[in-house]
């Protein structure tokens, strides 16, 4: 082990063994170089990432508006990074905002430049920016201003964002009708939902961050600013700063109760923010007026029921209900998602009954007990970390929880049960609990207890069993997922129930069979789930589309003639259902296009598959802009086009995908290699051999840098390059890569076919070089593992050589 690292590591262990207040004294005893390293590593103690927790629930408190004393000097006319500052357009707590333009002429683009005041912890801001850059860079939505760039100038961090003109939503909507205001809020909520799907929480939704302008046809449109910026700028994520300065953040008028309590914000925090926006836009008042002391405001946010907005303006009761549901103190009692909030507003616009109910007496009288409630989010976080594989995991788990919450009649009870289950987690707060076995053991005990304890409430018991089945599925414990799904279905059967929840139980059992690879049984369950969805949901409900989609998905795996044909027909149905529910341009619709494209592709209906890929691509491009998902679809489509013989058409798609990947994921990213490889093959077919070689060499270089030596992908690349050089008649240059490829393949078990291909190419190469004696053994080794034409060719070659 590196001696410097040994010392740093020992210092880190010592420091971590001490309580935080004692660490500084210990650090002072260290060699300065070692100390600096240990301090940098200590800062990571607070980190949350792949190894810990999903990105949405980072350790965070507070927001942008902090009282900072230092006034920045005037910046107009100065250069900040590559930008020339034009005029100051806003004053913020954390810093000022300027209109600026790129000074290096690279792009002619106006930006909003947020320059953080001196006094903020520059390095911490930049570190957080670096951590968030990828995620925020991927966040593309026509209703969200993008974060473009960041840097540091004269010790002051700056952030460059899309420049947006408009008025704060509360001022820009005064001339609008109530209906128009609600329509505007639907758009805002949809943008927020898109961000949530990208695992970005805004954390600081308030009127000054939602600007309203008129589009070319004069219709009002809203644009969200500062998405995800709060997390970067917030000094509270840096414990040193707050300790050193003793500066307390102001309580913001727009803070959610959990933020006042100092808990991490979640998507539910943004739902609360949407509620505040709706409330103020409709009634021109705030639910908790910012008068009096900080303590009074905090008390009101934590404890007071806001008056319905209709007390300040003539409004429909249903709008009261929607506002107040979004503004519930307890995050789990709010709308499950920004999308659910948007859906209720759309229902109101369509004069349909809304899903929210006015709070019952129980809700109104119950005071919020903070400690008890933290459990759900935090402990579910732990479950996710326990398995620790993906952030997506987090969202789907949260979604299952949300689904349970919104759709179960006994939603509150279920949530409370879950909360109780996790609250009793004996490992709470301890890093050691972030361990799959612990969580699993824990779930087994508590889950079984919870289900068994509900014998007198069979409906809830069944609901709980379905929920546990989902949870176990998420955990990858498919046996238990199966057990609980079966139990839930059995309970529904014994009660002779045929509700939406019965459908969900069958769907869970279908998932469980699918996990086990028992596709025929999965199909049967999905069919029952679909039948139930059709009778329990009104026509056009998105759940029906989802049930159709599930059934379609399993069919290509079912071993039955024409199953793929039915998959295609169901895929078409799912597509039209999604379009009816969400319109042509929704991301779910894009997904349905993509899936249908895949079924068609499996059935060799390449032409039609291509149109669906293209449509999926168009929607994704429109709503996501430059995004790795878009690049993936482009790359898919390009491969399809190439296979159809349109190598020419494939090239620009590959190029676009490569550019997006490079910009958003970095030039060395494996995705770049994939697209380069595909493009190399297409270029080769076009006879552009030197371009093809450049692409393949680029792909190989990335593979070598990112893969272990001897990886079969490296061999693939080497074979392609070798074959290309054979084609170009550069035989001696072909020998080197082909020899390496053969060596790699010969070290691996299996892969006989790939190995034979490499051996054949090497044999041909040696033959061209006049070394037939060396070539023959390679052909002999390859022969038994080749197929069809290739085998015939080698056989006749060998026959001639032997002669």
């Amino acid at each position: 082990m590196d001696p410097a690292w040994t010392e740093i590591k020992a210092g880190l262990a010592e420091a971590l063994d001490r309580p935080p207040p004692d660490r500084a004294a210990y650090l002072d005893t260290l060699d300065p170089a070692v100390r600096a390293e240990v301090q940098a590593l200590l800062r990571e103690e607070q980190s949350d990432g792949l190894l810990e927790r999903p990105l949405t629930t980072g350790a965070f408190v507070g927001g942008l508006a902090h009282e900072l004393e230092d006034e920045p000097g005037p910046l107009e006319g100065h250069r900040v990074g590559p930008y020339l500052v034009q005029e100051r357009v806003g004053l913020g707590g954390m810093g000022d905002v300027y209109r600026a333009r790129r000074a290096d002429g690279l792009f002619d683009r106006e930006v909003a430049l947020k320059v953080v005041r001196s006094g903020a912890d520059t390095e911490a801001v930049l570190q957080r920016f670096a951590a968030e850059r990828l995620i925020l860079g991927r966040l593309r939505h026509p209703g969200i201003a993008r974060l473009l760039d960041a840097g540091i100038e004269d010790d002051r961090p700056w952030l460059a964002m899309d420049f947006v003109e408009g008025q704060p939503i509360t001022e820009g909507t005064t001339a609008l009708t109530i209906r128009e205001r609600v329509e505007l809020l639907v758009g805002v909520a949809e943008a927020v939902h898109t961000a949530h799907q990208s695992l970005v929480v805004h954390r600081d939704l308030k009127p000054s961050n939602v600007l309203v302008s008129r589009d070319s046809s004069g219709r009002p449109r809203a644009m969200l600013l500062d998405f995800g910026i709060a997390k970067i700028l917030d000094p509270e994520t840096d414990p040193d700063l707050t300790v050193v300065d003793g500066r307390r953040p102001m309580t913001r008028t727009y803070a959610a109760p959990e933020q006042v309590r100092g808990e991490p914000p979640t998507t539910a925090t943004d739902v609360y923010g949407l509620g505040l926006l709706l409330y103020e836009v409709l009634s021109s008042t705030r639910p908790f007026p910012d008068e009096g002391s900080r303590t009074q405001l905090e008390g009101a946010i934590l404890n007071d029921d806001p008056p319905p907005p209709s007390t300040a303006a003539p409004l429909d009761r249903d709008l009261d209900t929607i506002c107040l549901k979004a503004l519930r103190k307890e995050p789990t009692e709010r709308y499950a998602s920004a999308e659910a909030f948007a859906t209720d507003l759309r229902r109101w616009l369509a004069d349909e009954p809304i899903t929210a109910r006015p709070p019952s007496a129980r809700y109104r009288t119950r005071k919020f007990i903070s400690r008890h409630r933290v459990g759900v989010a935090a402990a579910l976080g732990a479950v996710i970390v326990g398995i620790g594989l993906t952030a997506v995991y987090a969202t789907s788990l949260a979604r299952e929880r949300d689904r349970a919450r919104t759709e179960a009649e006994s939603a509150a009870q279920v949530a409370e049960l879950m909360t109780e289950m996790f609250d009793r987690d004996p490992f709470a707060g301890d890093a050691e609990r972030l361990d799959s076995m612990t969580v699993r053991t824990f779930l087994v005990q508590r889950g079984a207890e919870a289900v068994d304890g509900l014998a007198d409430q069979p409906v809830l018991q069944a609901r709980m069993a379905t929920l546990l089945s989902h949870l176990y599925g998420q955990l990858g414990d498919y046996d238990r997922a199966f057990t609980y799904a079966e139990r839930s279905v059995a309970l529904h059967d014994s009660l002779r129930l045929a509700t939406a929840q019965t459908g969900e139980a069958h769907s869970a059992l279908g998932n469980a069979y699918n996990f086990r690879g028992e596709y025929a049984e999965a199909e049967a369950q999905y069919r029952r789930a679909l039948a139930l969805a059709e009778v329990t949901h009104e026509t056009g409900h998105p759940n029906i589309a989802q049930a159709v989609n599930n059934l379609a998905y399993v069919l290509p795996d079912v071993d039955r003639e024409n199953a793929i044909i039915e998959a295609i027909s169901l895929g078409r149905r799912a597509l039209s259902l999604y379009i009816n529910a969400f319109g042509e341009d929704h991301l779910d619709v894009a997904q349905a296009h993509n899936n249908l494209g895949a079924y068609l592709y499996s059935n060799d209906q390449n032409e039609e598959a291509a149109t669906h890929y293209a449509r999926a691509l168009a929607i994704r491009e429109e709503s996501l802009g430059d995004h790795p998902l878009v690049a993936n679809t482009q790359s898919n489509l390009a491969n399809l086009l190439h296979e159809q013989g349109d190598a020419e058409g494939a090239i620009p798609l590959f190029e676009a995908a490569i550019q997006t990947y490079r910009e958003l994921l970095g030039a060395e990213h494996p995705s770049v290699s994939t697209a380069l490889y595909g493009m190399g093959e297409a270029l080769e077919d076009l006879g552009r051999l030197s371009d093809a070689e450049a692409a393949l060499l680029g792909s190989l270089a990335i593979d070598r840098a990112t893969l272990p030596a001897g990886h079969p992908y490296i061999a693939d690349g080497l074979v392609s390059i070798g074959q290309l050089r054979l084609k170009a008649g550069r035989f001696s240059e072909a020998e080197v890569p082909l020899r390496e490829a053969v060596a790699i393949h010969r070290q691996r078990e299996g892969y006989e076919n790939d190995r034979a291909t490499a051996e054949t190419a090497l044999g041909k190469c040696l033959l061209e070089l006049g070394r037939r004696g060396e070539a023959i053994p390679f052909f002999r080794a390859a022969l038994p593992h080749l197929e069809g034409e290739e085998q015939m060719e080698v056989r006749s070659l060998l026959a001639r050589l032997d002669a």
């Binding site: 952030a391 076995m437 612990t438 998902l629 494996p670």
Partner: protein
């Protein structure tokens, strides 16, 4: 799949310092884990996330003949399995980033139901793996701990057993590795 006795024998040989046996052990465990992972997820739908712990234990049951297992062979197996699991996961993440290359099992991937961001974790796992490679050069033992804890989902105790170190050491190595990796990821992105 090689018969259980073969892997048990390989385990004994590799424990005795036979490096080619160690390589073959790794390859055998890799193949089995890969095969199990495929069964569990390649065709499954939305919750298609690997449960690494279950896979490692399942591979153990399939590959190891308990009666012929040498003393502390079980720990040795888990250490090998953690390495192999990391490779399975990274290969899998890579595969998810590739479409139709080199004879993959499915021409095009379906979106996961209701999960439009299915591609992100692959990216992150690959970034982590790259950082871990660099860390490995600096501190091989701590890197092994990350493999056991993160990639194979072993508990602190299981990790301690697999690597023949104390649980306290596992915790210390984990804390150091975690800090180093987060810092590397923040700088690298």
């Amino acid at each position: 799949m090689p018969p259980a006795g073969d892997v048990t024998a390989l385990l004994a040989e590799s424990k005795d310092g036979d490096t080619s046996a160690a390589d073959r052990l790794l390859a055998a465990v890799y193949d089995e884990l890969h095969r199990l992972a495929q069964i569990h997820r390649s065709r499954s739908r939305k919750d298609a996330t690997l449960n690494t712990t279950a896979l490692v234990h399942e591979a153990y049951l399939k590959l190891i003949d308990g009666d012929r297992l040498p003393f502390d062979g079980r720990a040795h197996f888990f250490a090998a399995a953690a390495r192999a699991m990391r490779q399975v996961i990274v290969d899998d993440a890579r595969k998810r980033n590739r479409v139709k290359r080199g004879g993959g099992d499915r021409p095009t991937s379906l979106d996961r139901v209701g999960e439009p961001m299915a591609d992100e974790p692959a990216t992150e796992i690959l970034a982590l793996d790259e950082a871990l490679k660099r860390f490995e050069a600096l501190d091989p033992r701590a890197a092994r701990v990350v493999e056991c804890r993160y990639f194979a989902g072993l508990t602190v105790e299981e990790t301690a057993e697999a690597l023949s170190i104390s649980p306290t050491t596992v915790k210390r190595e984990w804390a150091a590795a975690r800090a180093w990796l987060y810092r590397a990821l923040a700088e690298g992105s």
